[in-house]
Symmetry: D2
Subunit: 265 residues, 4 copies
């Protein structure tokens, strides 16, 4: 088993300079442990809680930036897609297309993403059971695409709250596809503070540690230099200056889980 990869970056693209700064700081945070990272950022927040919030730079400006990051930092890049006809365009630049959780049952989007040949990371819908993801993966498989990732990001638990059911990790792994754990969205409180979503940033490292101990292929962790001023998902993002020790700690649990240390496994 390979060491965990990290899907990380700011929730939304703000500017080329911002993306560069973030990629640079992430790169620095990953270096001591040699952790591979996939730079993640959204060009469009297509399902914000309310209309009066920032959506992002749009597909053309966004892909332009992601392409620059990819080239300058020699790292794979990921973005989420919301409409079938965005997939081909996004795949020209991105190594991984991500299907948002709310859209995880939209057949046309899954097929369009699959048909690009890019890797596809599907977030498990908050309304789905872990075993339902086999049907989701099968939609992508039907395109001949064999680069699928299944990502746990929390399940609806009462109102405005998610819960992480860690049984989901081994259950989704039964599909044979690599499993990702999204630590920062799992602690989101959707719609929890009126017109935007709240979050419990302090629990993201707790849940990420648990996921590494159980064993995952990758972690998804959004980060920002100043989460409280980020245009979206601030309440659950990890400050980028805390990423290096967090990654080191997660790697230690990943090493132990995957038998790469002298531990009594």
């Amino acid at each position: 088993d390979a060491p965990i990869a990290l899907i990380t970056g700011p929730c939304q693209l703000e500017s080329l300079d911002h993306a560069r700064m973030m990629a640079d700081r992430i790169s620095t945070a990953c270096a001591p442990t040699g952790t591979r990272f996939i730079f993640k950022a959204s060009y469009d927040k297509a399902n914000r809680s309310s209309i009066g919030t920032r959506r992002g730079l749009g597909i053309e400006a966004g892909l332009e930036i992601l392409g620059r990051i990819r080239e300058e930092f020699d790292c794979p890049v990921l973005t989420d897609v919301h409409l079938p006809d965005h997939c081909a365009r996004a795949a020209e630049v991105c190594d991984v297309l991500q299907i948002p959780a709310f859209l995880s049952r939209q057949t046309d989007l899954l097929l369009a993403a699959g048909e690009t040949g890019a890797a596809v990371n599907v977030k498990k819908g908050q309304f789905l059971a872990p075993w339902d993801m086999a049907n989701v993966a099968a939609k992508i498989e039907s395109t001949g695409n064999a680069r699928i990732l299944l990502c746990e990001r929390g399940t609806s638990f009462g109102y405005n709250t998610l819960v992480s059911d860690f049984r989901a990790l081994p259950i989704m792994a039964r599909t044979g596809w690599p499993v990702v754990f999204d630590a920062t969205h799992s602690v989101q409180q959707p719609g929890g503070i009126g017109a935007t979503s709240g979050g419990q940033r302090e629990f993201a490292p707790v849940l990420a540690t648990a996921a590494c101990a159980i064993g995952v292929a990758a972690l998804f962790i959004e980060t920002h230099q100043d989460p409280d001023r980020a245009p979206s998902d601030g309440p659950n993002m990890i400050p980028v200056d805390r990423m290096e020790p967090l990654i080191a700690r997660l790697r230690a649990f990943d090493d132990l889980a995957k038998g790469r240390t002298g531990a009594q496994t």
Copy 2:
């Protein structure tokens, strides 16, 4: 308060003949109580549980049929839309555009539907709290559209199960928009039988009765002449030959709730 309207029809369009037969039987079932109905059918089931199930006739063939039903039966028609660029085309034919529950936070779809000027019926996402629907409605309101309906259709409750929280009806009514209760999807068991969704048809009339007693503007009830052989949602549809007595019973509760009888209200 006007008597309840009924949004009803088969889950998916099968053919013009089938739609005609269903509209005819629905019309007959509604006649004794003078119940107004909106004919509902989908031209595309865009989020089926799995890839190997029937999706429908497609937008052009579907709208052609809906247009004929509208004309022949002189009734409003409703269909659900899944992509922003379908909205304008669908609104040429349909009186009401419906936003599927999974898509109830997709800003572009809500705006595109709102901009058509057609009435918009938004199903509350299984992952949303009732109070979150105020933000959803506000997205449509931002287009100047003032013909919005908010529809309760069940909330995620553990895996593969929905629960109907009837507090949602008065909470959503606080927005000022008419509230609809979807009795047949509320008893769905999403993904509950492997590659398709199960359902508990026997409880749809129970929940519909409760909704009428509390007070709603409309009920959504899918129906079919032979639900067990319907191409989708069979387990929760009501056989069309049971619709007339069901409507009569629901109307009695609606009359009582709205003070149209001699009851001690």
Copy 3:
């Protein structure tokens, strides 16, 4: 089907004078519709959220008061029991023993209550499925007791929140035992305001109406002359001066559900 009975009274006994005043006002509220009521009050709140809250008068003083109410108002009385060895004593005075929801799986308590020969009203645990209540009832049936009531009072839904699943009413009715709906505890927010439970009093009449429309044998509604100053459960109790019109409205729905009016059922 007999008209609904009402299980009603203050959450906890405060004094003989208070109980008399409440019984008198309840009696007056029930008179116009001829609604039978069972006077309910607790002599001990044995599972308060926190230690620093009032528990009640204790079993001897409490039963003394309940006995007086029973005699003076010629009405059946109900109290909840928490320990097996309280059952026989409570049954000397009370017509109905009630098993609290948290204790609905405690075999010894169910058997002890059953053995008294008094009627037994079991609240469904917040952690139980409706079909689990058949096993609960079977424990009481094993004592030869055939006067069992099963009471829905909400199911855990995320943290500090209950949801009323109205499918539970027909499911529990399959046992053959009369079903009760507890409208005031169903809107409780357990532990919701720190050291005590919150509640959403405004929704109790909504849910009670739904239950009557579906059809129940009895409603459980706690009431108080000044809920905001009641020693327990204030946030969800109905002010006693609103009971008469509420009962009249509920009776109208009950009459319709049970076919006692000229409605088209």
Copy 4:
């Protein structure tokens, strides 16, 4: 931080010989890692799903056996108590009294257990939020008892299912009391197979690993030499012959979490 302790044993006492055999095998399984264990077994299953299942040996015979195990194996012993007047008697033999989850709000039981001076392990009710346990602990604290353990064992999630919310571990730790994770009851499916509870034994080690990675004071794991024939809780118990490698693996994660290895923490 001390290494994790293990609360372990068969769900219910079967006989002195059986208890001895189990204690011997547990002792052997713990020896290689020097893991301290507390022998757990119940003398009475007071809240079985249904009446027709075995309850156990009763308090006198049960305590007699636990006393012998304590002496012969020089280990602390734990049993659960269900009635206030059992606490003093049980504390004559047992080092730890355990409050069952359903009874975690019963004030008299918590006080009676606290007053014995024995350590008290409270299982968090399936219907409680993690922060509600501060009020539960305060009831015991009010007796002057300062040997309290708070135990996570799953939260109601839909019907017949529990979910483990790992945020509960750090939240309950804020009380200052040691936190225990019950790995085998957390995978229970209460009432899930008709008249008894089902379970998902295969996930108990997964969740136990996650808990160790997050950091707990102790794990609770029920075990049996032949779980499929155990008189209760078979579907979720771990076969005793798999305990030694499981303990070794859990200890490795515990060591890493608590900084006892050379890992990069």
